[in-house]
């Protein structure tokens, strides 16, 4: 089965010129609809910016957070986006390392999600600050007062984890773009040529360059994996390190990482489907890709339901009064609707779709992914809010509901995410061209083949083997 799928996935034996033409089309051609889309996204996203300024000038009080629920939508969004960011790098790094060849049209798509989701997600801790203008106090910089951040604080760990992950995944994304930009450079004229000349960083496509790119990508893939795991573990520790009932849990690290990969794959499937439609890449992003990712999603869905079961069961059995208050408010109380929606979105709906081969079509996986993205956002919300509403002393319980401010800002950042992606897809071939067709455009294969080191990309590209690896 696997062999057949992989074989199918790799049957992209179009002429290099067709690949080039298909995939470079958006870079050279800008439709009116594209402009309209960009303007619409900017228009939809701007209110979020304006409202954020309003929040800064007026005070955090315009948002719905209150005592004792000091964290609300913003931290939910933060965790959600950081989770989504696990789409790319992690997946593409794993697939790269195991040489799953079907990954090739998918990787860049996924890695871009990572970078943008991180960029968006990293905004939220700042959006959420009471005195956002002092956010740089989170950064360890030598100040004249000799004050450093508190390295015991998980928020400072967050800073390091996210900045490391962002740097890493940006590198991971940009390195393999260089040959494609060089390709654009070679074809472009005028201003575009000058821009892509800079972006291509003088790429000439020598075997040495190819070799180094390959090595760099291998090293990056190895490095990025633990970083990705650590990021979401540390995000989970923002919660697990505080003695809040239902937060203070050892399972949170793996639980969050699993959830992150889960939501990340779901986001990737949706993005792929949209890109496929919008850029007419039906011949590149094939049902088999969706099928494979769908299987991965199925595994993650099962893993996720296992985690939530393990977490809930131990809490329920432990029967600690402080925890039970939050527990029951989720299971039966005011959050029950959200909880069961989450279970439906993350498991009950996607599981049959993904498990039954007939339903695991492009449409099927997209439906499943959409519910999963919603469900995972709800999961983050249910992790953040209900426990805060029910801390130890019942007299101090409270309730949270968001205001239009939080909703507008949240909506704005979603628009921002889409906008970033749309712009990216315009300036960068969304599918790695050279990985599909090899570096034949600039260097004789013979020279590459003569190179002592085997270049898997070249080899695979030229021989189109029927096994994945």
């Amino acid at each position: 089965m696997a062999m057949n799928d992989a074989a199918q996935a790799n049957v992209i034996d179009f002429a290099p010129e067709k690949i080039r033409k298909d995939l470079l089309l958006p870079v050279f051609h800008t439709s009116r609809r594209y402009y309209a889309l960009v303007i619409a996204l900017v228009a939809l996203g701007l209110p979020g910016m304006a409202v954020y300024l309003y929040q800064i000038t007026e005070g955090m009080g315009v948002a719905g957070i209150t005592r004792p629920v000091f964290w609300g939508f913003y931290i939910t969004n933060f965790v959600f986006w950081i989770g989504i960011s696990h789409a790319g790098t992690l997946i593409s790094a794993i697939l790269r390392l195991v040489n799953a060849t079907w990954r090739r049209p998918v990787t860049r798509c996924a890695e871009a999600i990572t970078v943008f989701a991180l960029a968006i997600g990293a905004q939220y801790p700042i959006i959420h600050l009471g005195r956002a203008w002092l956010f740089f106090w989170l950064i360890p910089y030598p100040s004249e007062r000799g004050i450093w951040p508190n390295f015991r604080s998980p928020l400072v760990w967050d800073f390091f984890a996210i900045s490391t992950y962002l740097t890493g995944s940006l590198t991971f994304l940009l390195l393999p773009i260089i040959p494609d930009w060089a390709m654009v450079r070679d074809r472009a004229t005028g201003l575009r040529q000058r821009i892509y000349t800079v972006l291509a960083l003088g790429w000439r496509g020598t075997p040495r360059e190819w070799h180094r790119l390959e090595v760099a990508m291998r090293i990056m893939a190895v490095i990025i994996l633990p970083v990705a795991v650590s990021v979401h573990t540390i995000v989970s520790w923002d919660f697990a390190m505080a003695p809040v009932p239902m937060w203070h849990s050892t399972v949170f690290g793996p639980y969050f990482v699993a959830g992150a990969i889960f939501s990340g794959i779901a986001a990737l499937i949706i993005v792929m489907a949209l890109v496929r439609k919008a850029l007419h890449l039906e011949e590149y992003l094939k049902p088999v890709h969706f099928d494979n990712l769908g299987k991965l999603l199925l595994v993650m869905s099962l893993l996720w339901i296992y985690f939530i079961f393990a977490e809930r069961l131990t809490v329920w059995y432990g029967n600690q009064p402080a925890e039970m208050a939050a527990f029951w408010s989720i299971q039966r109380g005011r959050f029950a609707v959200l909880f069961w929606t989450m279970i439906s979105c993350n498991f009950l709906i996607p599981f049959p779709i993904l498990a039954i081969k007939k339903l695991r079509t492009i449409a099927g996986t997209v439906i499943a992914s959409s519910t999963i993205v919603v469900g995972m956002w709800l999961e983050r919300f249910l992790i953040v809010v209900p426990p805060l509403e029910h801390k130890y002393l019942p007299y101090d319980w409270g309730s949270y509901s968001p205001t239009w401010v939080e909703i507008t800002i949240t909506f704005g950042t979603f628009m921002g995410m889409i906008l970033l992606y749309v712009l990216f897809a315009k300036f960068v071939p969304i599918i790695s061209i050279w990985e599909l067709k090899g570096p034949q455009h600039s260097q004789p294969i013979a020279e590459a083949a003569a190179n002592a080191t085997v270049n898997p990309a070249i080899r695979l590209d030229n021989t189109l083997p029927s096994t994945n690896g």
């Binding site: 007026e58 005070g59 009064p321 002393l393 019942p394 007299y395 101090d396 319980w397 409270g398």
Partner: protein, 762 residues
């Protein structure tokens, strides 16, 4: 205004002012020369007397230098002055002993209240429209004199009335003397939660027409019949201090505390045993307890003396009041009554306290007499751990200086209204008003507002516009108590004889004048009899002169030199006798009073149509509504309901369930005499046949923090009175409750009501 926009506004206007000031010398802010020598950053503690309720706690004001915008000689400017920063109890003062309650702490917000009247005002719109224009003090005094002069002449057929809150000390002497210059002048002292019934009962039972001082600290067993003595009743700070000692001060002895009431009050929440008796049957319960004590010969009937003789059947052992006989009426099981009686007799000294709702019934006087008799039977009167009466101050005019007329003062507002409306016996031509707010705090049936509107001239001396002072034609605003000479003669709360007096803690902020000084000034200008009885130029002079004799009495100040004594008494915040004052014994009771027998309390409204008893209770924070204009009091959660910034209707969850009413539903509480609307609060601490609403909110006019907020339960009350004293029977109304809306917001500070774990603190 939103506080945020307010801030912006102040910043903007401040900037505008600064800019404007640069170019135009005419609008530059005047900076006055400081009137006092102050060291910046160093606090001075000055004594004063709390004016937030009638307890008369001595306080200490922490004064520090600050910059204030003030009015001096009619001009607005900035001055560096001593400003009151914090109030605390005066550690030396026999009533407060260094402690202060929540309401007392908020005294600062009276002085600094943004809604204070800052200068004399003359009505410019229609009466009650709230439209006033600023006038000078000279104009205001002249205007007032033109109305007073004709009335001050002898044999005038028309008269004046002075409407105040209860007053004591030399202020009371001053007002009385001032009014003595007007023929047939009425001085009406009004307070909603009036203790006239208890004063009357104490006079009958013990010969003291005053509120008792309860020596809780030495008591072994305290039974309170409805008295919120840890919250709002009598002298709460002194009583709380005694309560603390009663609980945990004596090694091996912890006094037991039983509360009898039908809604758990702040006080009742602290009881070891909480006994739910039907409203109006508390006196019967006291008799039941006495019955057991007598029957089991735990005490002799004669022990109760005159107090016992006032109860019919006392000598015979109260045959009609056996626990079995009264169990059904009171709702208290006979075993409980018997047990309580035995415990009381065994755990001497035992004391019974009565106050609040049980006395605000048509049978309130009887209830008070019954509890008094029980006290006497327990031998607690005049003994440590029992009831005592604060001795009078050794001053010639002290009698007048203590407000213990006991004639049901709220009743006399009713009488005043009747007098005004009927013009009999003589029409009221002018009304002087100081702080009392009967328009807010009387039942509609007394027609107080209608009456006041008919008075040709009303002058108010209060610092705030409220429902009553809004009707004034002329307003001559008083200083806040922190800016005035203050004096007081506490009625209770101590076994020492006390005269509190203190100079102003800070200089006035505004163009205001203290009431005593204005009255003295008026007296001089009116001349004749008034100027003879009020020869002093200022209130300070009057206080110095009248309090001078205290130097010759044994007390807290050991000097006989007049000048030194005067300095010392100001430093200490008063004079008090040595602690060893013998507790006064019960005096012979008035003999003309016939023995009383229990009669059922009458409730306005039929039980069929109005199935619930109605309890408007004194708010822990607003008392009778006078503190509703203080933001601290609005925002501190009432401790039992945890409610803030509003009114709620308390109902038992079971009763609510049968009516299909849920927490937060908007309901209408209606009696035959009025109705109010407020959201429902399900309270487990209230009898299923009772509806309770805290008094204090529902002001139509009382500054920015109180106006238009919540509902006023007094408007539901029937004009029911206790017949002997004429005091309002404010707990004698029945009501119905109807759901009229959903999802009304009640502001609750606290989370859910029940705590499932056995212990919070472990």
């Amino acid at each position: 205004m939103e506080r945020r926009t307010f801030l912006n506004f102040t910043i903007l206007s401040g900037a505008a002012l600064a800019l404007e000031g640069c170019g135009n010398p005419g609008t530059q802010l005047v900076r006055f020369i400081p009137e006092e020598d102050l060291v910046p950053g160093v606090a001075v503690l000055k004594p004063s007397v709390c004016a937030m309720c009638s307890a008369g706690c001595g306080i200490q004001v922490r004064v520090m230098e600050g910059e204030a915008e003030v009015v001096r000689n009619g001009q607005f400017g900035i001055v560096k002055m001593g400003l009151a920063k914090k109030l605390a109890g005066n550690p030396e003062h026999p009533v407060s002993r260094g402690k202060l309650c929540a309401r007392g702490e908020a005294g600062l917000q009276v002085a600094y209240n943004p809604d204070r009247i800052q200068h004399p005002l003359k009505r410019s719109g229609q009466r009650g429209s709230g439209k006033f224009t600023q006038v000078s003090w000279d104009e205001a005094i002249e205007e007032l004199l033109t109305h007073l002069r004709p009335l001050a002449s002898a044999h005038e057929s028309k008269s004046i009335a002075f409407l105040t809150r209860p007053q004591r000390g030399q202020r009371a002497v001053l007002i009385e003397r001032f009014l003595s210059g007007f023929d047939g002048a009425a001085w009406v002292r009004f307070e909603f939660f009036d203790d006239g019934v208890l004063r009357k009962a104490n006079q009958l039972s013990f010969g003291y027409e005053q509120l008792p001082t309860v020596d809780l600290g030495h008591s072994g067993y305290v039974t309170s019949f409805g008295a919120d003595f840890l919250g709002t009743w009598n002298s709460p700070v002194a009583q709380s201090a005694g309560y603390g000692k009663m609980r945990q001060n004596r090694s091996g002895v912890r006094g037991k505390f039983v509360q009898v009431e039908s809604r758990v009050s702040q006080t009742g929440a602290n009881a070891d045993e909480w006994v739910a008796a039907h409203p109006g049957t508390e006196g019967l319960l006291a008799l039941g307890i006495a019955h057991v004590i007598l029957k089991e010969k735990l005490a002799h009937a004669e022990t109760a003396g005159a107090a016992g003789a006032l109860i019919e059947g006392w000598r015979e052992g109260l045959p009609a009041s056996s626990p079995e006989a009264i169990a059904w009426k009171t709702g208290v099981p006979p075993e409980t009554i018997t047990r309580l009686a035995r415990e009381m007799a065994a755990r001497s000294p035992a004391v019974a306290i009565v106050g609040g709702a049980p006395l605000a019934q048509t049978n309130g006087l009887f209830t008070a007499l019954a509890v008094n008799a029980l006290n006497a039977l327990l031998g607690s009167v005049g003994k440590p751990g029992g009831l005592e009466f604060t001795p009078e101050a050794p001053l010639p005019a002290a009698k007048a200086g203590r407000d213990n007329s006991g004639e049901g003062k709220s009743g006399s507002v009713r009488a005043l209204a009747q007098q005004i409306l009927s013009g009999q016996p003589r029409p009221v031509e002018a009304l002087l008003l100081h702080e009392a707010n009967p328009v807010f705090a009387t039942p509609l049936g007394w027609r107080v507002k209608e009456a006041l509107e008919k008075v040709p001239f009303i002058a108010s001396f209060g610092s705030f516009l409220d429902e009553t002072s809004r009707l004034a034609d002329l307003i001559l605003p008083d200083h806040s108590f922190l800016e005035s000479w203050v004096d007081d003669v506490p009625e209770s709360g101590t076994t020492q004889s006390v005269v509190s007096v203190a100079p102003p803690a800070m200089r006035p902020l505004y163009d205001t004048r203290s009431l005593p000084d204005v009255l003295l000034d008026l007296g001089h200008r009116l001349g004749g009899h008034i100027s003879e009885v009020l020869p002093w130029k200022s209130y300070e002079e009057m206080l110095q002169a009248t309090l001078a004799p205290l130097a010759h009495h044994d007390g807290s100040i050991k000097t006989k030199d007049g000048g030194e004594f005067w300095n010392k008494i100001q430093e200490q915040g008063g004079w008090w006798s040595a602690e060893a004052t013998a507790a006064p014994k019960a005096k012979a009771a008035a003999s003309h009073f016939n023995a009383m027998k229990y009669q059922e309390a009458e409730f306005a409204g039929s039980a069929g149509e109005y199935p619930f008893y109605f309890l408007p209770y004194a708010s822990q924070l607003f008392y009778d509504g006078r503190h509703a204009n203080l933001p601290w009091m609005q925002e501190i959660p009432e401790v039992l309901s945890t409610g803030m910034w509003g009114t709620w209707v308390e109902i038992n969850p079971r009763a609510a369930a049968t009516l299909q009413i849920e927490q937060g539903d908007l309901v209408e509480v209606a009696s035959p005499h009025g109705k109010v609307r407020a959201p429902v609060l399900l309270s487990p601490g209230i009898a299923p046949d009772l509806i309770a609403i805290p008094v204090g909110q529902g002001h139509e006019e009382y500054g920015r923090y109180a106006s238009g907020r919540g509902a006023n339960p007094i408007k539901v009350l029937a004009p029911q009175v206790e017949p002997t004293t004429g005091a309002l029977a404010w707990a004698g109304t029945r009501v119905s409750i109807t759901k009229v809306g959903k999802g009304e917001l009640i502001l609750l500070s606290g989370g859910p009501t029940q705590w499932s774990q056995e212990k919070i603190a472990r």
